[in-house]
Amino acid sequence: MTPETLKAGSRLEKILSAGTFCVTGECGPPKSADGSVIVEKAKLLNGYVDAANITDNQTAVVRISSMASGVIAQQNGVEAIMQMTCRDRNRLAMQADILGAVALGIRNILCLTGDHMSFGNHPQAKGVHDIDSVQLIRMYKDMRDEKKFQCGEEMAVEPRLFIGCAENPFGDPFEFRTLRLKKKVLAGADFVQTQCIFNIPKFKQWMEMVRAEGLHQEIKILAGITPIKGAGMARYMKNFVPGMDVPQEIVDRIAGQEKGAPQQEEGKKLAVEMIKELAEIEGVAGVHIMAVEWEPAVPDIVERAGLLPRPTVA
């Protein structure tokens, strides 16, 4: 793609457009006004990922906003993929924030429904849910490509955005998961990051359905990876995290090691093995590594998966 044909001109877009196997990471903002936490996380990820998701009040817990954190990450060498949930903002705020984010240099956006308020630290909050994630994708696409606000009014300068979405290949109804991705593609999504994958056979089955619909030709698919830090985390994800599919043999494999460093090492090994296996699947354009509060593991995993050095872009 020439610079003129790029939609946003972000590093993420350039790498994916070039067909290079992409690596994205994740950076969760802190539950305080301490911006140095983002600086430290960005330093850890810099050079090891092509861009990093900046979560938006993840698990419905209040943190530094994804826009502010994204700007801090970018000031520290890590391109941001700013997350935007439908839970906390109505269409006015979503449009205002994206204009502001782009004005501050953010180029990638991830459109999400958002975890429900009941999971977070303000369960009494009123959920907004003015529009849903599919409508959010379309709204941003229309802002970018038609220079139009959701109401139809025109704007002078459009937000040049690389638009992402999430999909859970392990959610139900299973066969509808591909259709939902198709809806997101039709709405205007440029890339998708999947829920973390532990059940590779099921993911392969989902990818087969995705390819049957030709969706891998129309959207860049980043397979989600979460390195497991210990057996407790594996069991927690298996039993308590909505939409997760953690096979028992994964839990057993981690639990088979001594607590602490040996379990962590097994978790990293597993992540590396999975990245290599996912990279072989037709239509997988990269991996999205969500090392939840375990960012220091990312450089090692990326290196051992043979994904260094990360490409430079013009």
């Binding site: 429904t113 429900h116 599919v134 959701q150 959610g171 139900d172 509808f176 939902r180 909505p242 939409g243």
Partner: protein, 227 residues
């Protein structure tokens, strides 16, 4: 129907603190059907208040009455004589009935004895489920008769989120009870009807100005207005 739950007795006592002459007003329509605020429940609350006052050694003149519908003027006229005898009325009707009482009997202190909670239906005996958000723009024709606005925890309009698992929502009820995933139900129904193409159709952002977001709503039936 409109459903409501009685407020905790302690809260009701708090509302009535220092009051010596109180009328408990039931309503024999929705809140009677949901076993919360009909004539029988009004009589029970009046008795509870009377016993409590005796226990506490406080004077309390309390009685009860019930209107066929507290939300219509003509039925309030029917209970006006009794209401006039009391400075304080604690209403067991839904929020509409309570406001009608307050609007009709302007010199009375009208208090709520219930929390109005939803437009629901009794799916099984003595169990009600929310079914309608009164959003002002019904989509049930495209969703197999299952409302995504109120039955999906996130009011999604374009299919289930990633938290749908085995037909259940990621959100649970107040007592951790499971909630059906509305989009699983919609999905299954549309497939059963051979209308699954609707699942792939993009539904644009909803016009919430037709709901309470547009400000307090008003409905006028011109053809039914007296000439």
């Amino acid at each position: 129907m409109i459903t409501a739950e009685r407020k905790p007795f302690e809260e009701i006592l708090g509302l009535l603190e220092g009051k010596e002459k109180v009328l408990v007003a039931g309503c024999d329509t929705c809140v009677a059907v949901c076993l919360t605020g009909g004539e029988k429940e009004a009589e029970i609350l009046a008795a509870e208040l009377s016993i409590k006052a005796k226990e506490d050694g406080r004077p309390l003149d309390v009685d009860h009455i019930s209107a066929i519908r507290q939300c219509e003027w003509e039925y309030l006229d029917a209970i006006a004589e009794k209401v006039e005898q009391y400075p304080v009325v604690i209403s067991m009707a839904c929020g509409i009935g309570i406001q009608s009482m307050a609007e009709k009997f302007t010199d009375k202190l009208v208090l709520p004895a219930v929390n109005t909670n939803m437009l629901g239906m009794p799916q099984e005996h003595a169990v009600w489920y929310e079914r309608c958000a009164a959003c002002g723009d019904c989509v049930l024709g495209d969703t197999g008769g299952i409302c995504p606005v109120v039955r999906c925890s996130k009011s999604l309009m374009n299919g289930p989120c990633g938290g749908s698992h085995d037909g259940k929502c990621e959100v649970t009820g107040p007592n951790k009870e499971e909630i059906d995933c509305a989009w699983q139900l919609i999905h299954d129904k549309l497939y059963a009807q051979g209308r699954e193409d609707l699942l792939l159709r993009y539904t644009p952002p909803k016009d919430w100005s037709k709901s309470s977001s547009g400000g307090p709503r008003k409905m006028v039936k011109e053809e039914a207005k007296p000439v």
